[in-house]
């Protein structure tokens, strides 16, 4: 604990770097993957194509992706944007599959009744389809958030500082509490993001809680 309090300033500043580096891919994944997942669900011919592509991207080990993205895009290996793009690729890869599942999980009867009530195609999408997909989308973004926060640490190997700095620096200087601080703070940030997402879900998707409560009453 002594090491932690003696270096509290560095812990806080690296935590902020870490939060910034992981927040961008999480947000990007939501806005890129939800439309892609919807396309994969809506147009059956595109589903195998989209899901296979994201499956292959997800298979690439992170250190290799950190090398390949700069080569393909002509940016520097040692830049923050490299790490953000690589992590966005993984986040989108996880999220597209979940988004396709989320839209597929909606009972088509709801959509047909919405059409019968006079909703236009796009009105139905935003007022009925998206809210009903919400709970599964939230579950997906929680998975994305946890794994992104953990993956950011590898970025230190290409010189992008995050809490991963405590891993390499602590290892080289043989300071166990330093490495420990890095691991624990990464877990703390993952937990913090998860709590925020759950809280946001409660605010934006109040119907998910009602459905859950009814489900619990039904089984008890």
């Amino acid at each position: 604990m002594d090491w932690f309090f003696d270096n509290i300033g560095l812990v806080l500043s690296l935590s902020l770097d870490h939060i910034r580096l992981s927040a961008i891919p999480i947000v990007v994944s939501f806005f890129v993957a939800v439309p892609l997942g919807w396309v994969a669900h809506r147009y059956a011919w595109s589903k195998p194509l989209v899901l296979t592509t994201v499956g292959l991207l997800y298979t690439i080990p992170s250190l290799a992706l950190f090398m390949l993205i700069p080569a393909l895009l002509g940016i520097s290996v040692l830049s923050e944007i490299n790490v953000v793009i690589a992590l966005s690729v993984y986040a989108v890869a996880i999220m597209v599959r979940t988004a396709a599942d989320a839209f597929a999980s909606i009972d088509p009867a709801f959509l047909r009744s919405a059409t019968a009530l006079g909703y236009s195609e796009s009105g139905r999408h935003y007022a009925v389809e998206l809210p009903l997909a919400g709970p599964v989308l939230l579950a997906g973004i929680r998975v994305v958030s946890v794994s992104t926060v953990s993956l950011v640490t590898v970025g230190v190997l290409v010189g992008v500082p995050s809490l991963g700095f405590f891993f390499t620096d602590g290892f080289q200087r043989r300071i166990i509490p330093e490495v420990m601080t890095g691991v624990v703070m990464t877990l703390v940030i993952a937990l913090l993001f998860d709590l925020l997402l759950v809280l946001a879900g409660r605010l934006i998707l109040p119907w998910a809680r009602i459905a859950e409560r009814e489900h619990k009453q039904a089984i008890s």
Binding site: L56, Y58, T59, I60, P61, S62, L63, A64, L65, M67, L68, P70, A71, L72, V77, L78, V143, V146, S147, V149, S150, L151, T153, V154, L157, V158, G159, L163, G164, F166, F167, T168, G170, F171, R174, I176, V179, M180, G182, V183, T186, L187, A190, L191
Partner: protein
């Protein structure tokens, strides 16, 4: 010349294929780490997952650890274990970290594999007079195979990726060329190696995807109407 072309030049250079640190040796090291970790993790995780799936005890625990494990930064865990167990025991520390990483998806696969079997199937087996062990080995294990392989596929993906990081503690593997090449700005070497790593990950994943398909028991795949019709037509 573009970076990719330079990487390709590096990759096809005969120098890369002979001697101590050559690509085939690094590849072999990489595979040894991967298989050692997956083998040990399977020995621990599959019986445990089957036990939880068969008895239903500790099911909540499975959900908890698979969620928490995703948050654990594997690189940090590995360095921490190396420091705690001592740098001279770094080989075992690295393998331990990889095993810890591989266990949650394997347990989840084995558990879910048994969990998804319709209750009626297991009750029918019991009604026929099968013992608990017979139910496990003749009904639950065969029917769980596709999901067990699914779990193994997830674990392999994680382990192959993390083995690229063992070079940081001086243990070789394909990651060595990248971790050593970055500070020297030898980008032909780092990108060339990245291509090899991607190829390895894709090949292992494809093999396991194929094994998953093969692992569906005959009775189950024959029961699918669509398959039967496809065969008739072809």
């Amino acid at each position: 010349m573009s970076l990719l072309a330079q990487a390709w030049q590096w990759l096809i250079d005969a120098q890369q294929y002979s001697g101590d640190g050559s690509i085939p040796i690094r590849l072999l090291e990489h595979l040894c780490f991967t298989f050692a970790a997956l083998g040990l993790a399977t020995l621990i995780a599959i019986p445990l997952g089957y036990f939880i799936g068969h008895t239903g005890r500790g099911a909540l625990w499975v959900v908890g650890i698979t969620g928490a494990a995703r948050a654990l930064p594997s690189f940090g865990l590995m360095l921490l274990l190396v420091l705690v167990l001592g740098v001279s025991a770094r080989l075992w520390a690295a393998i331990l970290a990889l095993v810890i990483l591989a266990i949650p998806p394997l347990i989840a696969g084995a558990y879910a594999g048994i969990q998804q079997i319709p209750r009626a199937t297991i009750d029918a087996a019991r009604a026929q007079g099968m013992t608990e062990w017979q139910i496990l080995f003749h009904v639950e294990v065969p029917l769980s195979m596709p999901l067990v392989f699914g779990g193994l596929r997830g674990a392999t993906l994680q382990v192959v990726a993390t083995v690229t990081l063992v070079a940081y503690v001086g243990l070789g593997g394909l990651g060595y060329e990248i971790i050593q090449g970055i500070p020297l700005r030898r980008f032909d070497q780092t990108i060339g190696t990245a291509i090899v790593i991607v190829a390895l990950a894709l090949v292992l994943d494809a093999l396991l995807a194929f094994a998953t398909k093969l692992s569906v028991p005959k009775g189950v795949s024959a029961g699918r109407l669509a398959d039967v019709r496809a065969k008739d037509a072809g």
